[in-house]
């Protein structure tokens, strides 16, 4: 069955994207990426550690198999995000970008105003922008008007593993979207990812739940299966628990035919 995910004209078979942070070793990271079946992983930009200049995580990722999606994590405002985006593009030649503007270091919640500002600039500069946002339906529409390639609403704060706390808002975003919706952040268990897919999300992005698991490689594989199951359920069309309609007085009694 042809159920490919298409983002900015690019086809994906896997609807699970993986974040590469927080892994205890590059080898475990690479093995987890492999067992997740993903086709795109996010990476960040940081200053080279002068004392340890050749810790090169990038070497552990087979760029022939996996697309890199640079993010602007660390940016606290639009200017910083735009700068990081340009640096990422200069470093890799990649024009895809996960736009993250998080001024608050406690919850790492994204700044809606700076995100929209940065998105408008970066779309004009030819970037393929995937913005990370709180589950705000109006913000999602404004970003789509600005020309982003997806919207990525959070399920709950980064690293919190709380699952779909923003479920109703994400439902609205999905209903109104003209671009793919990728649920990102806070998915703590495969069942959360399955739930997001059952709701109609086009894909999910998972990092902490896998990297911090006791066995990241197995957890990555579990997420893979959960995303597939959730998507299949969505396509199969689930039945819902029936609620009795309130049969007060008949509304259609007046129709004689």
């Amino acid at each position: 069955m042809n159920d490919k995910l298409i983002i900015a004209g690019k086809e994906f078979d896997s609807r699970l994207f993986i974040g590469t942070g927080k892994f205890s070793s590059n080898k475990i990271m690479a093995d987890a990426i492999e067992s997740s079946g993903t086709q795109m992983v996010t990476v960040a930009l940081r200053r080279v550690d002068i004392d340890n200049p050749n810790d090169n995580m990038l070497a552990a990722i087979d760029r022939k198999k996996y697309l890199l999606l640079p993010n602007t994590s660390g940016a606290r405002n639009a200017d910083e995000a735009v700068r990081l985006a340009r640096l990422a593009r200069a470093a890799t030649g990649i024009i895809w970008l996960k736009l993250e503007v998080t001024p608050d270091p406690y919850y790492l919640l994204p700044d809606p105003i700076e995100t929209l500002k940065a998105a408008e600039i970066l779309v004009k500069e030819g970037f393929i922008v995937l913005p990370y946002i709180n589950a705000d339906p109006v913000l999602a529409k404004k970003l789509q008007d600005a020309g982003v390639a997806t919207v990525m609403p959070l399920a709950s704060p980064i690293g919190s593993n709380q699952g779909l706390k923003t479920k109703s808002a994400i439902e609205i975003i999905i209903a109104q979207a003209t671009v793919p919706v990728v649920v990102d952040a806070g998915l703590g268990m495969p069942s959360h990812a399955a739930e997001a897919m059952e709701m109609g999300a086009d894909a999910v992005l998972v990092n902490t739940a896998i990297a911090a698991a006791k066995n990241p490689v197995q957890m990555a594989n579990a997420f893979k299966k959960a995303v597939q199951a959730g998507r299949q359920a969505f396509l199969a069309g689930g039945a819902e628990v029936k609620r009795q309609a309130d049969a007060s007085s008949p509304l259609t009694g007046f129709l004689r035919e």
Partner: protein
């Protein structure tokens, strides 16, 4: 005085600075292929590492891709 501010920290050089950015990276044992460089806010293209001359007081940022969500 020969100093460069590299990644937010002043680094002093005895006698002379490395002539070019490529020389600096070699000195610091940083693999040029995996790094993005900014000098005083301007991004330097990789092809230009060898021809970019350094001068004292410059602010240099060396950035690379790392794991992230």
């Amino acid at each position: 005085m020969t100093v460069l501010r590299i990644n937010g920290e002043d680094r002093h050089f005895e006698k002379t600075l490395p002539a070019t950015l490529a020389d600096l990276l070699g000195l610091m044992k940083v693999d040029a292929a995996t790094v993005v460089a900014e000098i005083d806010g301007q991004i330097i293209k990789k092809d230009d590492f060898g021809s970019t001359k350094l001068s004292t007081g410059q602010k240099i940022e060396l950035i690379r891709l790392v794991g992230g969500g």
